[in-house]
Symmetry: C2
Subunit: 151 residues, 2 copies
């Protein structure tokens, strides 16, 4: 098992992972009745928000519209960034030019112009990062929307 | 983008992936009120069931006890096996010797003897497998607990 990373390293590793071109995110949501849903989607990290693009009628978009929360995972299972997020805003894929440009600059596909597609802007409330079991203590990087370390 | 795999290949790839030593599974569950949860756990594939081991008081175990369903993902985001599963049974980690032996033969840790840990045996109802968007059509391998192709 690799050595435990200090918090500052975990934060910089996390920010680097979130900015990786063509990276995907696991998006876990739930219907209000408690039915879980999970799907991988392309991610863009824009102004400390996770941006995803999807059909407004998809289960993930409908669940987020109803409950306004999701739990995200980025990275492989043994080098993971976990995020609890809340829905900040929903924008038509052609409704915010700067957002569309930022999304397309990181993701490896372009949803702009696709009928029925929306950007969901998700605000992290909690961020955790760990590799293996020895990194479970100290896994919290953000709590209540505030980074636990600066810089 | 790679060529679309025929259904029989997707099934054999899926079974091979599920039998991989020391492989992890993303487990998405929800509290009855609709709060999503997601965590990576070690997986064993035993008699066409997914077996996970965890603390009985963990959010995943509590959610499964309440709602009896989960959505699982195995593999990287662009070579994924997605499963909708129902809780078949919950067993103390020392309550079923054959199950414990099978779990430890595949996973890379041994939960037996750990106080408060249980095996959850999860029965797939739906299994899907795809790599990229060209494999989304024909992604269903199992529906209502029945494989769509034999052999």
């Amino acid at each position: 098992m690799a050595a435990v990373r200090p918090l500052a390293t975990r934060k910089s590793d996390t920010l680097r992972m979130l900015a990786t071109p063509a990276i995907d995110v696991w998006v876990a949501t739930a219907a209000a009745a408690g039915v879980p849903y999970l799907v991988p989607l392309s991610l863009a990290w824009v102004d400390e928000r996770v941006v995803i693009a999807l059909e407004a009628t998809s289960p993930t978009a409908r669940n987020l519209a109803a409950t306004r929360e999701a739990r995200l995972a980025v990275g492989p299972t043994r080098d993971v960034v976990m995020m609890d997020v809340v829905l900040d805003r929903t924008v038509s894929v052609d409704g915010d030019e700067a957002l569309g440009t930022a999304y397309v600059a990181q993701a490896d596909w372009d949803p702009r112009g696709l009928s029925g597609y929306v950007f969901l802007v998700l605000r992290p409330v909690r961020i955790q990062a760990w590799r293996e079991s020895n990194e479970i203590p100290g896994r919290n990087l953000m709590r209540d929307g505030v980074w636990l370390i600066q810089a």
